[in-house]
Symmetry: C2
Subunit: 205 residues, 2 copies
Amino acid sequence: MNTVGVGILLFDDVEVLDFAGPYEVFSRTRLTPGIESRRSDASAPYRVFTVAAGSDPVIATGGLRVLPDFDLASAPPIEVLVVPGGFGTRALLQDPGLLDWIRHVATTAQRVTSVCTGALVLARVGLLMGRRATTHWGALAVLAELDRTIRVEAEMRVVEDGVVTSAGVSAGIDMAFAVVEAMHGPAVADETARYMDYIRHDWRA
Amino acid sequence: MNTVGVGILLFDDVEVLDFAGPYEVFSRTRLTPGIESRRSDASAPYRVFTVAAGSDPVIATGGLRVLPDFDLASAPPIEVLVVPGGFGTRALLQDPGLLDWIRHVATTAQRVTSVCTGALVLARVGLLMGRRATTHWGALAVLAELDRTIRVEAEMRVVEDGVVTSAGVSAGIDMAFAVVEAMHGPAVADETARYMDYIRHDWRA
């Protein structure tokens, strides 16, 4: 099967659930329903991998140590880019190499997405220019300041306007399901949620 | 502050959200509300760490590589034990060293908890004997078979009966909030959920 490459960006002080939520959703999605289909990748539409600036372990918020699969230079083609948030985004906003990499990936990716304050990074790169977007409730004002052309949506968990942004931390799970639904239909998204015992939110509201 | 040690067990083929959900909740809980309080551990009631059989990276479901903080022998005192699930629990059920370790930790822990098929491991150790408990919907029958004295609750997301068990994957987030609420009250749990943009479920229903 032709799988879709999902690249999840990792960095020090990335919020754990920001990357782990979408990681879970994309990596456990199957086109064949049920539990047994999850024991192999035979019907997996996504190939999920983590990418970081270097190959050292990333220390996520709370101290969780994650080994990235690839560094920026060695990452395979990324069709879905996930930029999570966390206090570590502060440093990313001042990291020209990382920002250039995101800009470069965005030119060929089918979908660019963010969770929480990951939206600030996308705004800094100019990817949210003139678009509707959201972020963690504590960063809505910062998002607006970074790019005055962004129409900030304060009341939505997921905003799809070319780029897919989501609200704080746990909203990344809803964002990932929204992408799965857009690419593979509601039945595949709902069945994966059922596998995860996840109660999807009406994120459009 | 006297912090509570939360030990999260890791093993190959552990389900990502099973451990990452509780990791997020316990590691981001603060007794002082707000976002700024999350920038330090000053008001953090929990000290969260990961424990695995060895010190090699653990390969979670989907391929996520996590470096455990401690092996079984070197882990600090565990007041809250979290046993996540995933296909890897099959191997745990046949691992006398690991099962002995869980039995030993349970004798001194304030709370023993599980997510998803982690309940099967607790059942194998005998920790669910005569108790109400739950697991992933696909493993309810297996749980009942492992120990006929367990009263399996098929309709609840979280079951507290001495040991705290939860339903599939994402229900581990609700389980962690239930423990936070029991130990530090509903205001602390609700405020942490608000920080995470998480909509808590009425898990008692």
